[in-house]
């Protein structure tokens, strides 16, 4: 008989080794799937993991990995803080959308004037939009005890409808002969969030993600607030007895994650996406939840997780285009990676015993 025995404390060795083991297992299982689809598994894996980083056109794709990872990391850092405190913001996608709409609208008011103050102004409004959208579940939870998971998630659908109405109606580009979508913000000098160093993919959103990571790391390890967050997550009762103001913590955690999601939306709409369109929401807010957990809710881990996730997107797209792999196979491959990461995690908390064990 094989059974699992809970470790007294999580194993540090397995904590470090399990992501590597998971990636290895994904490569084996994914390779088998690619082979079953009639493709050369080694070539497929090389296209996904190797080519974007070290291949022929890596000079372009490395930047694209950062473009893709930037918003994921920025949102995930905010979410992780809340998740550690037991505050479950599932609606970052909605905060991301509302941040983008608010920021874009604030900027478009000044179109077509040109001023260096417009972009910072838009960033502030983007952050404000994200905070405002996150305050709805926060205040409802504090005042009325509603479930923030449901409220924040439902507000994503409201945000998507706001986005559609903005794209076809009140933010629509008046010069676009009846077509939906706002003016292209990446082509207006005052609002364009372009690469800061050409060819690197680093735009303001990537810089903001880096700052957020450092800020969150310092706060969690060095500041009283970070201690309260960890305490509230580990033991809510102890936290209350310890004088932690839970209501304030909920508002702060949701507000912080909403702010970062809103800023991510603004950086995206002024840069890579360029415009408010009906398809602007690309799922970053949901993927960031996965990134937060992959990174073990640790800011530095989130950087690694965000980069890995971005790599599978960029490499997966390349594999789909160059090798003719169906896009569903790429999604399945990403799913495998997440599955193995979570499955192997069992080894961190449990020991595998073979033989007759004590009845559990």
């Amino acid at each position: 008989m094989i059974h699992l025995e809970r470790r007294p404390t999580p194993s540090r060795a397995w904590g470090a080794a399990s992501p590597l083991l998971a990636v290895a297992l994904t490569m084996v299982a994914g390779g088998l799937m690619f082979a079953a689809l009639g493709k050369d598994p080694l070539e497929a894996l090389r296209t996904i993991f190797w080519d974007p980083v070290l291949g022929e056109f890596a000079w372009y794709f490395r930047g694209q990995i950062l473009v893709k990872a930037g918003p994921l990391i920025l949102i995930a850092v905010g979410l992780a803080l809340g998740f550690r405190a037991g505050v479950w913001n599932i609606g970052a996608e909605g905060q991301y959308i509302v941040g983008a709409i608010c920021g874009a609208a604030a900027g478009l008011v000044f179109y077509p004037t040109d001023s260096v103050r417009i972009f910072p102004f838009m960033v502030v409004f983007g952050a404000f939009g994200g905070i405002a959208w996150a305050m709805i579940p926060a205040l409802l939870k504090v005042r009325l005890g509603t479930n923030e998971i449901l409220v924040s998630l439902m507000l994503v659908y409201v945000a998507e409808n706001l986005l559609a109405s903005a794209a076809v109606n009140w933010l629509r580009n008046p010069d676009a002969v009846g077509f939906p979508g706002s003016r292209n913000l990446a082509r207006w000098d005052a609002s364009a969030n372009l690469e800061l160093i050409e060819g690197t993919g680093i735009h303001w959103g990537v810089v903001a993600a880096l700052i957020a990571v450092i800020f969150a790391h310092v706060m969690l390890t060095r500041h009283l607030m970070g201690f309260q967050v960890r305490l509230a997550g580990a033991s809510p009762r102890a936290a209350r007895f310890g004088g932690v103001n839970t209501g304030r913590l909920i508002v702060l955690c949701l507000g912080f994650s909403g702010m970062l999601a809103g800023m991510a939306g603004l950086f995206e709409v002024t840069g890579p996406a360029g415009q408010i369109s009906i398809d602007f929401a690309s799922g970053y807010g949901f993927t960031a939840i996965i990134v937060a957990f992959l990174g073990r809710l640790n800011p530095l881990g989130i950087v690694a997780a965000g980069l890995l996730m971005a790599l599978t997107y960029v490499g997966g797209e390349a594999a789909s285009a160059n090798l003719g792999l169906p896009s569903a196979a790429i999604s399945a491959f990403q799913g495998m990676l997440l599955f193995f990461l979570l499955a192997v995690d069992v080894l961190t908390n449990f020991r595998v015993r073979v033989g007759k064990g004590v009845a559990a």
């Binding site: 022929e56 056109f57 000079w59 372009y60 794709f61 694209q64 473009v67 559609a164 109405s165 076809v168 109606n169 629509r172 002969v177 009846g178 077509f179 939906p180 979508g181 292209n184 082509r187 050409e198 060819g199 995206e268 840069g271 890579p272 996406a273 360029g274 415009q275 369109s277 009906i278 398809d279 602007f280 929401a281 690309s282 960029v314 797209e317 390349a318 789909s320 285009a321 160059n322 003719g324 169906p326 896009s327 569903a328």
Partner: protein, 362 residues
């Protein structure tokens, strides 16, 4: 170093050289908005790709990427195709417009063809579209005859000129054969979302709609109609973008098929010959780009004959679906007796014609 100088360097090294040497096959890329198995819009573009492969054999190599979102990811997908040495790239959805033009600026030696857009900012960008409203005239005529409740449903995607042309054309021709007709338009705000499309179809059927036209790409409305018919209903549908033949003979009684093969073959040939030039193409039934699929026996013979006569007249260039007198929804005159709509007016169409109820969400 800028991207351009990097590219120039890469090209000098022969890494990203567009394969124009005679023995090399011409590489043709396709960017799709949905999965190739969507049974509608993307499926038809992929059929066009396969037709190119069959026509040119070893002289071309095709690549494609499916389910490319119309946001930030499109530019990367198009760039990566250009980097891989594509000589000609078809970007097959409206939302790729800015991305296509942005990539075209960086790859002046690669030709780009953007479907259904209007921006041609660089000499290496062409646009192409099909006159779907010609097909809508035929399906509208059949719908006007088939309905018993006098309520026709229309599942619309986005309020853009192409979609509004379709609504106006179907309504105009349904009304011609059945003056009591009422059209219920539902905006789905998606090109492809089976769940949403099915919901829209069911809601319409509940309202008494018995003929459904769609400008969305999935077969979900067909399935919803079939389900209603199995429960004693009498609902008819039309295939959209592709034939949707699996729902024959009812609920699907006819279809509008987008056939991109003639256009794709023509443009690939132009690249091979070195005669490719920027253009804005808008073909229809005469060019074989808009085709009406089999009209089934569920349609009475005289209605079928009427529809076929209309197809013949449009194909021969004798009849334009938007021929006056036509008034706008507010009653003001749009086209005078015998006047034919100009392309410019159609490409910017943002109003309903007289008799349609409701507002365009603008």
């Amino acid at each position: 170093m800028t991207l351009k100088t990097l590219l120039a360097g890469a090209m000098a090294l022969g890494l990203a050289t567009p394969a124009l040497a005679q023995d090399d096959p011409v590489k043709v890329g396709f960017i799709y908005v949905g999965p190739i198995g969507d049974g509608g819009w993307t499926y038809q573009h992929d059929q066009g790709r396969l037709a190119v492969e069959e026509h040119f054999g070893d002289a071309v190599e095709t690549v494609y990427q499916e389910s490319v979102p119309e946001g930030a990811d499109a530019e990367r997908a198009i760039t990566q195709m250009a980097l891989q040495g594509a000589d000609l790239i078809f970007t097959t959805s409206f939302g790729y417009m800015d991305a296509t033009n942005a990539v075209a600026a960086k790859f002046p030696d690669v030709k780009f063809e953007h479907a259904t857009g209007f921006k041609r900012e660089h000499p290496n960008v062409s646009t192409y579209d099909a006159r779907f409203y010609e097909g809508r005239a035929v399906t509208g005529t059949i719908a006007g005859h088939l309905t018993e409740t006098n309520k026709i449903g229309y599942i619309a995607s986005f309020p853009i000129p192409e979609v509004i042309q379709g609504i106006n054309s179907s309504f105009l021709h349904a009304q011609k054969v059945n003056p009591d007709i009422e059209m219920v338009v539902t905006w789905a705000y998606t090109w492809f979302d089976p769940a949403k499309e099915a919901d829209a179809a069911r809601a319409m059927i509940d309202q008494g709609v018995d003929v459904i036209l769609q400008h969305t790409d999935s077969t979900a409305p067909q399935a919803a109609a079939q389900e209603a018919n199995e429960n004693g209903g009498r609902v008819f549908t039309f295939g959209q973008a592709s034939d949707m033949a699996e729902f024959k003979p009812t609920p699907r009684v006819a279809s509008i098929i987008d056939d991109w093969s003639p256009y794709y073959i023509e443009r690939v040939q132009a690249v091979i010959d070195g005669t490719w030039e920027q253009q804005a193409s808008w073909g229809g039934m005469p060019e074989g780009e808009v085709v009406i699929g089999e009209i089934t026996d569920a349609v009475p013979a005289e209605v079928k004959a009427e529809a076929e006569a209309m197809i013949a007249a449009i194909t021969a260039g004798e009849y334009h679906p938007f021929t006056g007198p036509i008034n706008r929804q507010d009653g003001s005159a749009w086209l005078a007796e015998g006047e034919v709509a100009e392309d410019g007016a159609l490409l910017g169409m943002d109003f309903y014609i007289e008799g349609l109820t409701g507002d365009i969400p603008n």
